[in-house]
Amino acid sequence: MLPVQNQVAVNVRDLVKQFGDFTALRNVSLAIKDNEFFTLLGPSGCGKTTLLRTIAGFEHQDEGEILLFGDSIAGLPANQRPVNTVFQNYALFPHMSVLENVMFGLEMLGSSKAEARPLAHEMLELVRLGEFAHRKPAQLSGGQAQRVALARALAPKPKVLLLDEPLSALDLKLRKAMQLELKALQRETGITFIFVTHDQEEALTMSDRIAVMSAGEIQQLGSPKDIYEHPDNVFVAGFIGETNLLPVSVDEITNGHAHCHLGGGHKVICSAVEGVAVGNDVHISVRPERLRMSAQPSDQQSLPGTVVETVYVGSDVQSYVQLNEGPLLTIRTQNSALGKQAIFALGTQTYVTMETGAARLLQD
């Protein structure tokens, strides 16, 4: 028998969904493991919500199939799928108390009120809202309503919990707190979470794995670290975090290294990737925090340029360096590292050091 962690909870195969002329999902395939915090990340209109709603049973695919722990759920309506959803606007029933809301799913599954009540109380304790059981949803704050929605969806013990941008209505501080709470809740309950968001930071914070989506397709699937450090293409590199996206031409590929040049003739060496050949005009991505400035050229790749702007952004200082006859680079220096790393005044000549491996070659 397979270890539990490797069992596939949701297996999506070649899913196609069209709304009139608009294709929301083009042949999407992915396997979500049991007990995993899985995030669908992408800009609005990328198909992430459609995919979630198709798993929930609110939409029906035109092609492809969805397996839940090995069983096809194509023919099952939403009320027969052992998955529950936390809605973006929570959709708490306004005419019921918090407790009645949480009891609803249990009652619909056939529990009597007497059986459902202690379970519902237990769920409310889990989200630390025990004292709020008899309030109406209108008397709750946004964060509390969010937690009730979670308790309501978790009460029937679903095999998979679907979360449709549940944190987007909360303010920043509350959102950060809820991110950690959700992550902890997932670990405690051991239920597979499928989380939809357009917020890349949220996705990086919480997920075990992320599928980055755009235009109805999965662009890249991997751990947060994979996706941030080794983006597969220009879209992923640009969407996740800040980056310097620079057009390059590939001059030579030897020993797995690609020798490229930027505009202005600046030479850059990075790891070769499949699908990029000599003579191609492609892009590289360099994260601003992977670049250093120095007064003299260093022994690594050093690109000469001029500091054109410095911006103080709290924890970091952001410098903009115009390479000689080349592109503009953004460089991020942590304030805590100022002792070791230099910041240069406006207009000064400087050398930008790009350590090997900092630049990532991308397919377009």
């Binding site: 929930a56 049973g57 609110f58 309506p77 939403a78 009320n79 027969q80 998955v83 529950n84 959803t85 809605f87 606007n89 959709a91 708490l92 029933f93 306004p94 005419h95 609803f104 799913g105 619909m108 599954l109 209108a138 309501r152 969806a153 029937p156």
Partner: protein, 248 residues
């Protein structure tokens, strides 16, 4: 305000302690007692009870139909059918009532239906539906469909979703629609007068019949009482709709 002057005058003179309707002889409730004990009281009591039976039955049936129609029209189907259905449903509001009255009469005659209480109730149900429908549909449109999705997601059947979620959420609209339908039925004269059988009177037709032989002060008292019922119902309907808006 000037438009309400006749109503105000009727109301004031209903408290007149005089057999004449023009000379004021001091305040009295005699015509209100006369409503229950006077020589014509038996006739008006029967008419009033007819009116209330008709209003209750037709408002109940019309509201039920309107609720189901609103659920189906607002939730199901394409947008163009929605507009068409709304137009069709509100048609009785635009068609001159006399036309509806004549048409209904011809219809009952053609199918050989003998006129009486039943014909009045049937006719009232039909023209009460749009009055009940409008507030219910307005309410329904304000209910996001995520509530139903959430209920379905939590394993409720379609029927459970309707009775446990939709119906309670629609209730303010339903009450408002019911009261409106009730009042419209209670006050109707034209259609009732056409389709009522001989000897069956409702309050409005009975008042009309009495007025034909000259206006007596007891008519003013009855009219004022009817006015009061209408005002109370419309006010309740208004506050139900308003209180509910605050809740959302």
């Amino acid at each position: 305000m000037i438009l309400y002057a006749p109503l105000v005058i009727v109301t004031i003179y209903s408290f007149n302690d005089s057999k004449s309707i023009i000379t004021w002889q001091g305040f009295s409730l005699r015509w209100y007692f006369d409503m229950f004990t006077g020589p014509e009281s038996a006739k008006f009591k029967v008419a009033a009870s007819n009116s209330f039976i008709i209003a209750i039955v037709s408002a109940t049936v019309a509201t039920t139909i309107a609720t189901l129609a609103a659920t189906a029209i607002v939730r199901g189907g394409a947008a163009r059918y929605r507009t068409a259905s709304l137009g069709l449903l509100s048609l009785p509001l635009m068609v001159p009532e006399i036309v509806t009255a004549v048409a209904t009469l011809i219809f009952f005659n053609t199918i050989g239906f003998s006129r009486g209480l039943t014909t009045i109730i049937l006719a009232h149900i039909v023209f009460c539906i749009p009055f009940a429908y409008l507030p219910i549909a307005a309410r329904m449109q304000g209910i996001e469909d995520t509530y139903e999705q959430a209920a379905m997601d939590l394993y409720a059947t379609k029927r459970q979703t309707f009775t446990r979620i939709l119906l309670p959420l629609m209730m303010p609209g339903i009450i408002s629609g019911y009261l409106l339908a009730f009042i419209v039925s209670l006050d109707d004269f034209i259609i009732t007068n056409f389709v009522k059988g001989a000897g069956v009177e409702t309050l409005p037709t009975a008042i009309f019949g009495a007025v034909k032989m000259g206006i007596k002060p007891n008519i003013m008292a009855i009219s004022t009482a009817l006015l009061l019922v209408s005002v109370v119902f419309v006010t309740i309907s208004y506050f139900v709709a308003k209180a509910d808006n605050k809740n959302k």
